[in-house]
Symmetry: C5
Subunit: 338 residues, 5 copies
C-alpha cells in the first residue's frame, strides 16, 4: 500500500461516490473524513472504527476496495454483479452480507434496493447502486451512541440493519391496508378488476418473502456461531433485530394466507354474482317467451276463434299478458330466481 | 433509588394504573400494597414475591418500571410500542414474555389483547393497555395457593398463563359451533352469503393461530433450558399448560382443515344449485319455444291449410299445445333436467 | 390409608363402577377381586400387579383414585375433565396416557371414546366414561399370558393398547369401502349428493388423524426414553404396536389424498355433465328457433308471396321444417353439441 | 429338532412351496436342495449360506419356519397376516423386511405383490403369496457371483432387493407415457373422459408412493446403523440400491406434480371449450332472434304497411333477412364470439 | 497395464472421442496430449493432474476407463446407463458426480444434458453423450489459472461446475421473461391459448427443479465431510458455487409460486370474460325478445284492434320498437350487464 500525495481535487471527485467516516474508539471522537487511499492506514489502527460507504460504484471503486481492505475476489465479484440473494458469507477477516431495502413509491410499486456490506472487526463497508435510507439513518444515529463506541463495527452494523428491517413493517402495513380495501371491493361493491390487484399484491409478497426469509439464516449465522466480531453486549441488540425479522416473516406468511382467502372469496362472490345475473336474465326470457306465446296463439289464422270476435278481445289479451307476466314475476321473485 | 416521602394522594393516582402486591414467602402473608417508589426496596428483599400490574401505562410508567426494576431499554421499548408477536426473550435477570388474551364480543368478533410480562426470580410485572381477565383470575387465585408460596414468581406466572390459555378453548368452541351452523346453511338451506361467514372465520382462525403457534416456542424455551427461575415442582404445572397450548394449536389446525372442507362443500353445492336452476330455466324455455312453434305454424298465411278450416281447429291446437307442453315436462322431469 | 371394614353391599355398588384385578407375579395366580379401599395395600406389595378399571366415574371415584394411588391433582383433573388429546405425560411414579377407541355404528357414524390410563410399575388404572371393547379384550387375554407375568404392568398395557390400535384398521377399511362406492357414484352413475358423503368422510378422516397422529409421539416417548417401567422383553411388543400406529397414520394420509382426488373427480364430472346438459338444451333451442323462423316468414302479410298460393305450400313448409330440424339435429350430434 | 428320514415323496410335496438353496462359502459350491426339516442343521453350519423361499405358505409352513429358524412370533404373525407397510424391524438374530414388487398387467392395472424377507447373518428367508419375479432373477444371478460368495446373505439380499427396485422404474416409465398421451388428449383432441384416466393414474402414483417412501427408511436403517450382517464391501452395493430408491421416489413426486398440472390444464381447457360452445350457440340464437324479429314485423296486421304492397316486398324482406344474418355472423366472428 | 506402441493413426481415432489434458503441477506446464493407454501412467505420477474428457462414449471406452483408472463397476454402470439423478457418490479413491447442463434451443425448449464426472485427487474424468459447453469453458479457463495449479483437480472441478451452474440463471431469466409475456397475455390482451404456455413453463420448472434440488445435497456432501481431495483454499470457491445453486433453487421456487399466481389469474380472467360475454349475449336476447313481443301483439288477429287502423300505426309501432330497444339497452348498460 503506497502512500498517496494528498490532492484536494482527487478528494472532491471521490466525495460524490465514496465517503469514509472514522471514529476513534478511545477518544470517542470522529476523525476528519479521509481519502480512499488513506483508508488502509486507518484500518491498520486498531482503535479506529472505519465506515466506508460506496454509492453507485465504478469498476475503479471495486479495485480500490479490493486493494485498501484486501477483500477476496469472489466477494468483490458478487458485490459488483449484484442480484444476490440476502446472505452472509464468511471470508478471511470479514463477513460479506447482502440485504435489500424495501421502498414503496407513490403508485404502491415495491422497489428492492440491494445493499452489500463488508463487516470486519474494525470496519464496515457499504456498497449500493441506489440511495439507501438506512445509510442516512445510521449516519445520523452513530454519533449519538458514542458511549457505546468501544463495541466497534458491531454497533454500527446493528444501527444499519435495524434501520433496514424496521422499514419492512410499514411496507407490509401498506399491503395490509390495500388488502382491507380489496375485501370491501369484494363483499360490498364487487369489482371484477380486483383480480389484478390480488395478483400484484401476491407478487409483492413473494418478493418480500424472498428478501426476508433468507435473512433468518443470516441472523442465525451471526448469532449462533462464536463471533469475535461482536462484543457480548451487542448480541442482545442483534437478538432484537432477529426477533423483528421473524415478526416480519410471520406477517408476510399471514398476509399470504389472508390473500389466499381473499382470492377464494373473490372467486366465490364473482361466481355468485354471475349466477344471479344469469338466473335473472334467463328468468326474464322465460317471462317474455310466455307472453309471446299468448300473442302467437291469437296470431293464428283459425276460422273459428271466438276470442278474436269479442269486442274487448284485444283488451282481454293485453290484460292476460300483463297478468301472466306479473304472476310469473312474483313467482320467480319468490323462488329467488329473479 | 432515592426514598420517596409517602404521600397519600400520590398513591391514589397510581392505584388506577399501577398496583403492586407483595407476598412474604416466609410468613405466607401479603404485605400492604406498596407505592411505585417502594417497589425496588421490595424486590431487594429475597423473601418477598412482588407482582406489579400496570394497566394502560403512560410514558412515565415505563420510566418508573425501568428505574425500579432495572429493565433493559430494548424490552421497555418493545413493551411500549406493543404489537409484538408472542415471544419469550431472555434479558439479564429476567424474561420478557408477550402473550395475547382472546376475547369474543357479542357479535362474535375476536379481539386479541396484548399482555407483556416481565418475569424475574422474585417478581412479576404485567403491562397491558386493556383489561385482562386473567389478571383478575390470578389475583383471585394467588391467595388460595399460599401453601406453595415458596415457589415464588413461577407459581404466579403459572396461574396467569394458565388463565390465558384456558380462555382460548371457549373461543374455539364458539368458532366450532359457528362452523356447524355453516354446515347446515350449506347442506340443508343453502345461503350464498355463507361465503362471508367462511371468510371471517378463516380470518379469526388465522389470528388465533398467529397468537398460539409461537407460544409453543415460548414454552419450549421455558421448559427445555435450565431455568433457575422455576422450582422443579413448578415445572409439572408448566408442562400441563404446554399440553393445553398444543391442544389449542391442534384444534386450530383441525378447524382450519374443516373450514377448507366447508369451503369446498359450499362451492360445490353452490355450483350444483346454479346448475339445477339453469337447467330448469332452460328446460322451461325449450317447452315454451316448442309450443310457440305450433302457434307460429298456424299463424302462417297459406291459402290451403285444412286445420284452419276445421270447426274445432282452435280447440284442437290448444289441446295440441297442452299435450306437447305436458309430455315435454314429463320427459324433462324424468331426465332430471326440470 | 385407613383399613375399611369389609361390607358386601359396599362392594356390590362398587362392582358396577370400579373393578380391580390383582395378579401375583410370583405364583402366577389371580387374587380375589379387592375393594377400593384395599387397593393401596395391594399396590404396596411389589409382587402383585394391580389393574383397576373405573367406568363412568363419579367425583368420589376420582377422590378414591387420588387417595389410593397417590395420583397428582393435575392428572386427576385432566382425567375428570376429559376431551384431552392423545398424549403421554410423566408424573412422579407413573405415566398418564390418553387414548381413544374408534367405534363405527350402524349408520357409519364414527364415535371416539376416551380412555385414560395411569401406568405405574406395578399397576394399571383405566378410566373411561363409555364401554371400551379393548378393556374386555385385555381382560380376556391377560390370563392366557401368565407365562410372561413377571413383566408386570407393561405386558398389560401392551394388551390393552394393541387391542385399541388394532380396532382402527377396520374403521379405515370401512371408510375405504365407502370411498370405492363414491367412485362408482361419480364415474358410473353420477349423483350430485355425493358431495355430502365426501364431506362427511373428510370429517371422519380428520377426526381419526387427530386421534392417531399424536399417538406416534406417545410411542416415541415410551420407546426412546429409558423406561424403568417396561422390561426389555416388552419393548419388542411396543415396537410392533408402534409400527401398526404408523401404518394406520399412513393409511389415513393415503385415504385423505385419495379423497382429494375423488373430490376433484366429482367436481370435474359434475362440470362435464352440466356442460353436456346446457349444450344439449341450447342446441335444442337453436333448432326450435330455426324452424320458428320459417313459420314466422310464412306468417308475413306480403301481398305477393308465391308459396302461400301453392296448393301444397303447407305440406311443403311442414316438410321444410322437418328437413331443417333433422339436418340441424344430425349436424349438432356430429359436433357433439347435442 | 429331530432328524427326519429322507423321503422322496415328502420332498416332492415341499418343492411346490418351500425351496431351500444352500451355498458353501468356503468351497463356493451349492449343496443339494435340502428338506424343510434339515434347514436348521444347515443354518447351524457357519460356512453355509441358506436361502429358503416359501411361496403361497400354509399355516404349517409358518410353524416350520418358526421352528427351524427360531423366528419371533411377532414377525411370523406380521408375515402371515400380510398387508404390512414396507418396513425393516430388528429381531434378535435377524431382520424382518417387508417390500412390494410392482406388476403392470396388460390393462395397465398396477398390482403390488408383498414379499416378506427374514435376513440373518447366514440365511435369507423369502415368503410370498404370489410369484415374485425378483426371486427368479436372484436365483439366476446368485451362481454367477460365486467369487463374492464369502459376503454371505448380504450379497443375496442385494441381488433380490436390486431386482425389485429396478422393476419400479419401467412401471413409472409406463405411467409417464400414459401421461404424455393424456397431454395430447387435452391439448390436441380434447376428451372429457380424460378425467377418469387422470384419476386412475393419481391412484397408481399414490400406491407407488406408499410403497416406495418407507423404503428410504428401510435403507437408512440398513446403511446407518452398525450392521454386523453386511460386509463392508456389500455396503457400496446397498448404497447404489438406496440411490435408485431415491430416484424412484423423486420420479414419483415429479410425476405427481406433473399430473396436478395436467389436471389443471384439463379443467382449464374443458372450461374454455365449454365457453366456446356456449358463446357460439348463444350467438346463433341471437342471429336467429334478430331475423325472426324482421319476420314478426312483417307479420303485423296494420292496415297501412307500404312494404307489404310492394311487388318485390317478399324478395326484399328475404334479402333483408339474409343481410342481417350475414352481417351479424361477420361481426360475431370478428369479436370471436362465434 | 501393458505398454502400447505409439501409433499416430490410433491417436487420431481417439481424438474424436477421448481427449486427455495433463498438467504438471510442479512446472505449471501442460504435457502433450496423451493416448488412452498412457493415461494410467500419467495418473500414477503424483505431480500430474489429468483431465480425460470422453464424449459420446462406446462400450470400449467404458472398458478403457475402468482399466486405466480402476473405476468401480457400479459407477461405470451408472455412467453407461445414464438417466441418473444429480448426485455424488463416494467410491474408493474418487467421487462419482452426475450433473446436468441446461440448454434452451431457439424454440425455448429446455434440453438437459447429462454429465458424469469422476473426481479423484489428481484426476478428473468427464463423460457425456452430447456436447457440454462447460467443458469448453473449463478447457479455456484452466490455462489461465496456472498460478493456482498446485490445488490439483479441485480447481478444475470448480471451473467445470461453476460454468454449469452459471448457465442455469440465463435459462431461468428466459423463463421469467416468458412469464412476463404471459402476464400481458392475461391482463391486457387475453388469450385462451396461454394455458398451454403456462403448462409448458410448469413442466420446464419441474425439470429444472429436479435437476437443481439434489445439487444442494451434492455440495453439502462436498463441503461438509472432511475432503482430502480439495485444498482448504478451494473450499471458498465451492462455497460460492453452492451459494449460486441455492440462489437458482430459490429462483425456481419463486417462479413456481409466480406461475401458480399466473394460473389463478388466468382462470379468473378467463371466467370474468366468459361471464361478460354470456351476460351481453343474454342481454341482447332479452332486448330482441321484448321487441319481438311487440311485433307479436300487433300480429294478432283480433277484429277490434284500434292501432291497426291508425294511418301511422306502422310508424308508431316501429318507433315503439326502437324506443323499447333503446331504453332496455341504456338500462342494461347501466347495470353493467351489456
Amino acid at each position: 500500500m503506497q502512500v498517496h500525495k494528498f490532492d484536494i481535487r482527487d478528494v472532491k471527485v471521490e466525495l460524490r461516490m465514496i465517503r469514509t467516516m472514522c471514529l476513534d474508539r478511545a477518544t470517542k471522537q470522529f476523525l476528519p473524513e479521509c481519502s480512499v487511499a488513506a483508508i488502509s492506514d486507518m484500518v491498520a489502527r486498531p482503535e479506529v472504527v472505519v465506515w466506508t460507504d460506496v454509492s453507485d460504484p465504478t469498476s475503479q471503486d471495486f479495485l480500490d476496495l479490493a486493494e485498501e481492505f484486501g477483500f477476496h475476489p469472489l466477494s468483490i465479484e458478487d458485490c459488483q454483479h449484484g442480484h444476490q440473494r440476502p446472505k452472509i458469507e464468511e471470508f478471511p477477516g470479514y463477513y460479506f452480507i447482502v440485504m435489500y431495502e424495501a421502498h414503496l413509491n407513490a403508485e404502491q410499486d415495491l422497489e428492492l434496493r440491494e445493499l452489500s456490506v463488508f463487516l470486519g472487526k474494525d470496519f464496515l463497508v457499504t456498497v449500493h447502486a441506489k440511495p439507501i435510507n438506512a445509510i442516512d439513518t445510521a449516519r445520523r444515529l452513530w454519533p449519538k451512541w458514542l458511549d457505546r463506541a468501544k463495541e466497534g463495527s458491531g454497533l454500527l452494523a446493528y444501527l444499519l440493519i435495524d434501520a433496514i428491517v424496521d422499514d419492512y413493517m410499514p411496507v407490509l402495513d401498506s399491503v395490509s391496508e390495500t388488502m382491507d380495501d380489496l375485501e370491501d371491493q369484494i363483499f360490498e361493491v364487487f369489482k371484477p378488476e380486483s383480480i389484478e390487484n390480488i395478483f400484484y399484491i401476491k407478487k409483492q409478497l413473494l418478493q418480500m418473502r424472498r428478501m426476508v426469509t433468507p435473512l433468518r439464516d443470516v441472523f442465525n449465522t451471526m448469532l449462533r456461531r462464536e463471533q469475535p466480531i461482536f462484543a457480548r453486549e451487542t448480541h442482545i441488540y442483534f437478538h432484537d433485530v432477529f426477533d423483528h425479522v421473524i415478526r416480519v416473516a410471520d406477517t408476510i406468511d399471514t398476509l399470504r394466507d389472508m390473500l389466499a382467502s381473499i382470492m377464494d372469496a373473490y372467486l366465490s362472490v364473482s361466481n355468485n354474482r354471475m349466477s344471479m345475473v344469469m338466473k335473472r336474465l334467463t328468468s326474464i326470457s322465460t317471462i317474455l317467451m310466455s307472453v309471446t306465446l299468448i300473442a302467437g296463439i291469437y296470431g293464428m289464422n283459425f276460422d273459428v276463434m271466438p276470442e278474436l270476435r269479442w269486442p274487448f278481445g284485444y283488451a282481454y289479451v293485453l290484460g292476460l299478458i300483463l297478468l301472466v307476466a306479473a304472476s310469473l314475476t312474483v313467482f320467480l321473485k319468490k323462488v329467488k330466481w329473479l
